[in-house]
């Protein structure tokens, strides 16, 4: 976590059930376009994408250390890249909240490559802090956590197959991400079947279900 604060990203072994997860390349063309040959699709938080994944011990320990014990799961999406998709432009998941202030992290994006081992991202280490963009982007192999303010680019897909990368967003409870896509998809059954400790991450799902229930009465 200390290294994460310094550089804005952290890599390491994953303890979630990654090997059991398969995302169909048929999702290509759906969801939000992210440039040539690349789309982001909200996926349902259930089955292999359920709490053993998004509330794995390593993930929980990491995001709670960075964002606080009351942090929430704010998004779960798959990025589908066609074979030969070129590298994307430099971007960041979220702009700094107040451009002239150095603030603690407000959201963490957990990146989980599925399938081949080729790097999915190139990151500008330290660019989550003022002056926010400085230095070259370097490839990151394997799973990683990003400060959502960190500048990065999506690496080209050099393989001959379409591939998927999971992106899970954790945030402070008051943070709002106004992007147009639905941030989190979950059924009532999946919510109710989530163990209590993991369910603390589902404040927004619990609120939506509660309000749906009240509106129906």
């Amino acid at each position: 976590v200390t290294r994460f604060f310094d550089l804005g990203f952290d890599t390491g072994e994953e303890d979630g059930p990654i090997s059991q997860i398969a995302i169909s390349a048929d999702l290509a063309g759906q969801g939000e376009p992210l440039g040539a040959g690349r789309w982001r699709v909200a996926v349902e938080a259930a089955g292999p994408l359920g709490s053993p994944l998004w509330a794995s011990p390593r993930a929980l320990g990491f995001v709670r250390a960075v964002l606080g014990e009351d942090c929430v799961l704010a998004g779960l999406a798959a990025v589908i890249e066609l074979d030969g998709a070129p590298a994307g432009p430099l971007e960041r998941a979220h702009a700094p909240l107040l451009a002239d202030r150095e603030l603690p992290c407000h959201a963490v994006v957990r990146v989980l490559p599925l399938g081949d081992a080729a790097p999915r991202l190139e990151v500008v280490a330290g660019s989550h802090r003022p002056p926010f963009l400085d230095g070259p982007a370097a490839p990151v192999a394997g799973a990683c956590f990003l400060d959502s303010r960190l500048w990065f680019r999506r690496a080209a897909n050099p393989t001959t197959l379409a591939r998927a990368t999971l992106e899970l967003t954790y945030a402070r409870p008051w943070f709002y991400d106004g992007r147009a896509m639905p941030s989190l998809r979950m059924s009532r059954a999946a919510y109710e079947g989530t163990p209590p400790e993991a369910r603390r991450l589902l404040l927004r799902v619990g609120s939506a279900l509660r309000q749906l229930g009240e509106a129906a009465e």
């Binding site: 909200a42 603030l103 409870p173 008051w174 943070f175 991400d177 998809r185 939506a208």
Partner: protein, 268 residues
């Protein structure tokens, strides 16, 4: 006269718009005290429409079957109000005498975070002192940051010593809840048409209603685009506007109501 009162000039009242000097003065007072009282912020006919609309909702059992809302004290309820006529009037949520001040405080990309009402019934006791939301990150840092959200309070009756009002602790937006603030509370007793703005970090409480009348106020919370109040709106909808009212929102104000267009969670 309250310490942080903005008196509008006759030409500003006539034109329905503020000079840049007034906006600067208003933002300075707000930043210093954490609140601002603005008499005559709204047209009389608008407030009459809102008052009639609200009493009609009460007569119908309150607000589209959403029940009595949430208890927020003794005989005091927070009740969501759908933004349908007359509550969808842009002169209310984008008041020309207020929006320039709000934009100065929160940035041009500010949004509506919540809209509703609080009603103190006759005989309601005073509330406990509170802040509507925790300070961001941690108390020390959160107290030093610029304002991230503002509550606009629009009384639907004249507020006087009998009906009561909101007791505001000036300057308390710069300290954690419970920290000593050695000031007398400000008590904005204003006539209909007036309003007060409160920094979301301000310590405050509703005073007792010693009258025989109900004391309803509308609240409209404006925020920076990245902030949402998850604390007060777990069970209650923060913002609701039916499709027919949404279709009437002027194009220039669609950004202000952007929250209506995005579901954070989709129940599959």
């Amino acid at each position: 006269m309250e310490r942080a009162t903005l008196t509008l000039e006759p030409d500003e009242l006539a034109a329905g718009a503020l000079s840049s000097t007034t906006v600067t003065r208003a933002a300075g007072l707000f930043d210093h005290f954490g609140y601002l009282v603005i008499p005559r912020a709204f047209e009389t006919d608008l407030i009459c429409n809102l008052q009639n609309g609200y009493f009609e909702l009460i007569a119908r059992g309150l607000v589209s079957g959403r029940g009595r809302g949430m208890d927020v004290g003794d005989r005091r309820y927070m009740i969501p109000v759908e933004m349908r006529a007359p509550f969808d009037d842009p002169r209310l949520y984008a008041a020309p005498r207020l929006l320039p001040i709000l934009e100065r405080l929160l940035g041009a990309d500010l949004v509506l975070d919540s809209f509703g009402s609080v009603i103190a019934m006759p005989g309601a006791a005073a509330q406990a002192r509170h802040k509507d939301h925790d300070l961001l990150f941690d108390a020390e840092r959160g107290a030093r940051l610029p304002c991230h959200a503002v509550t606009l309070v629009v009384p639907l009756i004249d507020l006087d010593a009998e009906t009561g009002t909101t007791a505001i602790l000036p300057g308390s937006h710069r300290v954690a809840l419970g920290a000593t603030v050695d000031v007398e509370p400000a008590l904005p007793l204003i006539a209909r048409g007036g309003c007060y703005l409160m920094d979301y970090r301000l310590s405050h409480f509703g005073t007792a209603n010693r009258s025989t009348r109900i004391r309803p106020i509308l609240y409209i919370v404006y925020s920076r685009p990245w902030f949402r109040d998850e604390r007060n709106f777990y069970s209650l909808p923060a913002l609701a506007m039916p499709a027919e009212a949404r279709a009437r929102v002027p194009l220039r104000l669609r950004g202000l109501l952007a929250r209506l267009e995005h579901a954070e969670v989709v129940v599959a």
